[in-house]
Amino acid sequence: MTSISSAVLGLRKTAVSRAFGSWLGRIAGGFLILLVLTAIFAPWIIPFDYAKQDLMNGNAPPGWPHLLGTDQFGRDVLSRVIYGARTSLSVSATAISISVSVGMALGAAAGYFGGFFERAVMTVVDLTWSFPDILIALIFVAIIGPGLTSTTFAIAIAYLAQFTRLTRAQIVRLKGETFIEATINLGAKPSHILLKHLLPNAIAPVIVVGMLAIGDGIVLEATLGFFGLGAQPPTPSWGAMMSSGTAQLFLSPWVIIFPGVAVAVTVIAVNLFGDELIRALDIRDRIKGA
């Protein structure tokens, strides 16, 4: 595994610094760093307690002291948006990490061993691939029941097909290369070839697509939260805030507008930075081929 982690480290050092080279990459990357820091330090940053109700001061428009206004229970929208970043980012990042690890294992095994195993895995993968992610997630949340844990697994399952396909495509492409044939002929074990030679070479596109998928995961988490299937009250998440805000849509639109802006800006930043990474690594063709 050391070579995989060193491949990731190498990727981080060279490509990330190159992605920061353009001004778009700098703005998007800077925003993302700021956002992650905000999410980590949310409990110390928020101006008000995110769960504290103040019924006398409900539906207050943006102003002072509530910069982004209050919701129907008088809770501070700014504090809830900041704290919601914690929920949304951690759910999406956890889900995509699961998705990437399982997808890489499945895809690598399918691509390397081939045969019946490959056909079985790819049939299931193609099946889920043809379904919209929101439907897959809805079905799984319906099976396990609403909540943040099931949302996490639902998102992980919804994007599993993507990483399995991508990893398999990389492995199949690499398997034909001369240096792999040479290693096989030198008598290397399959595990050695897979872990030391195939995966380190296949990892860059998977990691970048994984980063882009964190953006999709945030949207999916927000959508599930909007259906009332994600974070349960009083835990703030961007989707759940919008869900409870729909009842007050005409009275206090700011309850819906600001969490939505947070989702949109975050996902746009993720996409811009991901694009810069793809350009920096020059892997556009390898991603498209999957």
Binding site: P132, I134, I139, A142, G215, G260, A264, N271
Partner: protein
């Protein structure tokens, strides 16, 4: 290929629904009824049979157009589908047409324009369209066009006015997608040798674009559009919900909440069918348009 896929999809849909926790009988039973009543209800809907038998009964009935009775809504599922499907088809069809036409136009403009402002606007539009969550856009549209300007109704499905906002919401993402694919395809084709030759022959840029570049670039666009039929239906699920429109999506979400197995199964099957038909149409269209694909299949 289509037959094994349909069989596995039907098994998966059948099994998934039986893994759902909760029992539709619990929703049906009245306070004070005896265990005997419960057993009679279970027998009536065939829930006491082995899963294998239930599956074959379900498949056999479906080929006769009988999707069973909705357990909670107490009506034939086929009726519910027949009632909701036209709304989804109408919305999906319009959104599809809107995304294709506007998307191809936008993609072409962004590929051929020399103005940096137009190119940047298109890039921004494509980025926004592929990232902004559909339900939030729907809420903003309601807020602005239905509440502030009062141009369109807030919800419901009466008349064409109620279709405008849902179609725009689904179409926004679709336009961005189609525009992106069109743009990339046009850029790729433009680098081919035969295009250089056409320019050398002295043809005007417009006629090269209309007669040679666009037909070429339409191949990946048609593929993506066919694959995306399912995604447009998926988008319709959230949008139908926000706008309070009847349709397969609203029906599915309501049935999921009530654990109404037959309805969930039928809705998922309809959506799966749409996805498969989309893929098939895409393959056929590609073969019809591209002689290279036709020759390879022979």
């Amino acid at each position: 290929m289509l037959i094994p896929v349909s069989i596995s999809i039907s098994v998966v849909i059948f099994m998934i629904v039986h893994l759902l926790p909760g029992d539709p009988i619990d929703n049906l039973i009245r306070v004070g009824s005896s265990p005997d009543d419960r057993a009679r209800l279970i027998a009536k809907y065939g829930l006491d049979q082995p899963l294998f038998t239930q599956y074959f009964r379900w498949i056999a009935a479906m080929f006769q157009g009988d999707f069973g009775d909705a357990i909670v809504l107490r009506r034939p599922v086929a009726d519910l589908i027949a009632q909701n499907l036209p709304y989804s088809l109408q919305l999906g069809g319009l959104a599809f047409a809107f995304s294709s036409i506007v998307g191809i136009i936008f993609g072409t403009i962004s590929a051929v324009t020399r103005s940096a402002a137009v190119a940047n606007f298109m890039r921004g539009f494509i980025l926004l369209g592929s990232t902004v969550p559909g339900f939030w856009l729907a809420l903003l549209m309601i807020l602005f066009f239905a509440v502030r300007l009062q141009w369109f109704p807030v919800s419901g499905a009466r008349g064409w006015e109620s279709l405008v906002l849902p179609v725009l919401t689904i179409g926004f993402g679709g336009v961005a997608l189609v525009a992106r694919v069109t743009r990339v395809a046009l850029m790729d084709v433009r680098r081919e040798d035969f295009v250089v030759l056409l320019h050398a022959k002295g043809l005007s840029s417009t006629s090269i674009l209309m007669r040679h570049l666009l037909p070429h670039a339409m191949l990946p666009v048609v593929t993506i559009l066919a694959l995306r039929i399912g995604w447009i239906l998926g988008g319709a699920v959230t949008v139908e919900f926000v706008f309070g429109r009847p349709g397969l999506g609203s029906l599915l979400i309501r049935a999921l909440g009530q654990r109404d197995y037959p309805v969930v199964q039928a809705c998922l099957l309809m959506l799966a069918l749409a996805v498969m038909i989309g893929t098939l149409v895409g393959d056929v269209a590609q073969a019809a348009m591209d002689p290279r694909v036709r020759e390879a299949k022979k």
